[in-house]
Amino acid sequence: MSDITLQGRMVHGGVAEGEALVTKSPLGGFGTFDFDSGDIVDLNHEWYGKNIKDKVLVFATASGSSAWTIAHQALRFVDLSPAAYVVRENNPQTALGSVVARRPCITDLNQDPTEVIATGDWVRVDAERGIVEVTKRCAADR
């Protein structure tokens, strides 16, 4: 049973679940990832050093270069893709990026996902239904 259910709009279809990685900041593409490990290598980003493989990425929007979509497609090619994207404000990079990454993506949620979801929560994304189910990680587990 999930603790919280958010309703939003599908950006790209699919169903996936995983542990959430959450930031109120935007997420980049170019110069953001190490393609051997899936680690974030952008020194400017609060996720620096974190690994994105199989995570549900919850973030404000996409920032930076038009190479965003190249990077997110490349993560798929090297089997380091995140499980899904939950984006507060969709933009061209997150839209095309989730299409070429071929991962589920949801936006325009009825609550700010970067407020409601915390890093470590278990998140299930059902993009066609526009549903994000959040199971809070117990305080004791943190």
Binding site: P26, G31, V41, I70, F77, N91
Partner: protein, 427 residues
């Protein structure tokens, strides 16, 4: 709900061949992802094939290294190999290629250099112009005000929207390629009047005469506004091309500023009211001494003053910058411990040769790279790096692994190249 016109349906059905079918199919997915209701005709594209992943990833996905299959997979996201005849739109290539004269200086060395040369030949084969620049508006791709275009290169997107008044979202490689093939792009975002209005009013309370300030202003505001467009007012200095490029580049690397308004300067901002569409700003910001200093400190991450690399030309060096650099270096020698790299495109470099600027810069020990990008340099991550570009200062750590980066004026960068020491400071 996305509605397709007859020509779009024909392309999607495959009536005009498999390449247009794949391109249209991708655009339909993209339009649905955006929530667009229709497509718009475009005839001007800037595309970024030079940023495809490294040669190991390309070989993993396309072991044959067949160039049409590489383009299909990496540029069109098509699992099926399609052969593109000619692109429909006037299409020019972005930077991030390799200067073929110096393969060892750039990431991926000779193997990646060779792959990108084959990809450049492919681009030419299908009718693209291989401008290889992040500033196409400097050298032959200059859209007109109100024109709908499909551009990659974030700084050029911001320049197009803000300074030229052309209309584009930040396209990616895949959507730009599909747009080049079909002449279509989703009618969404910056293509629509209502999304071009400024929402954040920024009071500019510092002297804006030096290039450095334009990087600082853009970088600071980008960190504050999210996807809202800023309206800059009370700017005390009419910016030149290089300064506008710096503002655009910093605003979209430090955040997502796809368009800004400079009141009394840029075409859609004769007044604050015109720039905002007569609506009250969602919030206001002030860029004064404290914000300026804080931003300067974000971009200056080094405690080491011995500089290994000085990088200029991000976005690609203008003729005016090339002239200034040549004047600053005339009769000087670059420190034996320091490398000076300058990036621009082949057309500006050719003009620099005609003017004698290149000879002066090269005699001093500097290197002018064409078609490439300073972020494509192969560097030792422990090197100390200095630049006059806010964009380069932002991306260098992630793109190259550099941890020690300095940011300052052009004169400070040239001084660092000549003395090998960083002596920049913010007055």
């Amino acid at each position: 709900m996305l509605k397709l016109e007859r020509d779009e349906r024909e392309m999607l059905a495959g009536d005009l061949g498999p390449a247009r079918q794949r391109a249209m199919a991708l655009l339909v997915k993209y339009a649905n992802a955006l929530g667009a209701d229709r497509f718009i005709d475009i005839r001007n594209v800037t595309i970024i094939p030079g940023s495809i992943p490294n040669v190991e990833i390309v070989r993993k996905i396309v072991p044959s290294m067949d160039i049409d299959e590489i383009a299909s997979r990496f540029m069109l996201d098509s699992d099926e190999r399609v052969v593109v005849d000619k692109v429909k739109a006037f299409t020019t290539t972005n930077a991030t290629w390799r200067d073929q004269a110096y393969p060892e200086l750039q990431k991926g060395s000779k193997a990646h250099c060779d792959l990108l040369q084959r990809l450049a030949e492919y681009c030419k084969r299908i009718g693209m112009i291989h401008l290889a620049t992040c500033t196409p508006y400097q050298v032959g791709n200059l859209p007109v005000r109100g024109e709908h275009i499909a551009w990659t290169e974030s700084s050029a997107v911001a320049y197009s929207n803000s300074v030229i008044g052309a209309r584009t979202n930040i396209e990616g490689l895949h959507s730009a390629f599909a747009a080049a093939i079909t002449g279509k792009i989703p009618n969404w975002g910056m293509h629509l009047d209502r999304n071009r209005r400024g929402k954040v009013l920024v009071e500019v309370a510092v002297d804006m005469s030096d290039l450095r300030e334009w990087s600082l202003l853009g970088y600071y505001v980008a960190s504050q506004v999210g996807l809202n467009l800023p309206i800059y007012e009370h700017i005390n200095h009419l910016p030149d091309l290089t300064q506008l490029m710096a503002l655009c580049a910093a605003g979209i690397s430090g955040g997502s500023v796809v368009m800004h308004h400079l009141v009394g300067i840029t075409p859609e901002a004769p007044t604050v009211e015109a720039a905002s569409g007569g609506r009250r700003p969602e919030f206001e910001l002030r860029f004064a001494a404290a914000e300026r200093r804080r931003t300067y400190e974000w971009l200056n991450r080094s405690g080491k003053d011995a500089v290994d690399i000085v990088a200029l030309g991000c976005p690609h060096c203008t003729l005016e910058s090339l002239r200034q650099i040549a004047e600053l270096l005339d009769g000087k020698k670059i420190s034996a411990n320091t490398k000076l790299y300058l990036t621009t495109n082949s057309m500006i470099k050719a003009m620099g040769a005609i003017q004698g600027y290149n000879a002066v810069i090269e005699k001093a020990g500097g290197l002018i790279l064409q078609d490439s990008c300073c972020l494509e340099l192969a560097v030792d991550p422990d090197n100390v790096f200095a630049t006059n570009s806010g964009k380069l200062g932002h991306y260098a750590p992630g793109a190259t692994g550099l941890k020690h980066t300095w940011f300052g004026t052009l004169a400070e960068c040239i001084d660092a190249a000549v003395t090998g020491k960083w002596r920049g400071e913010l007055p």
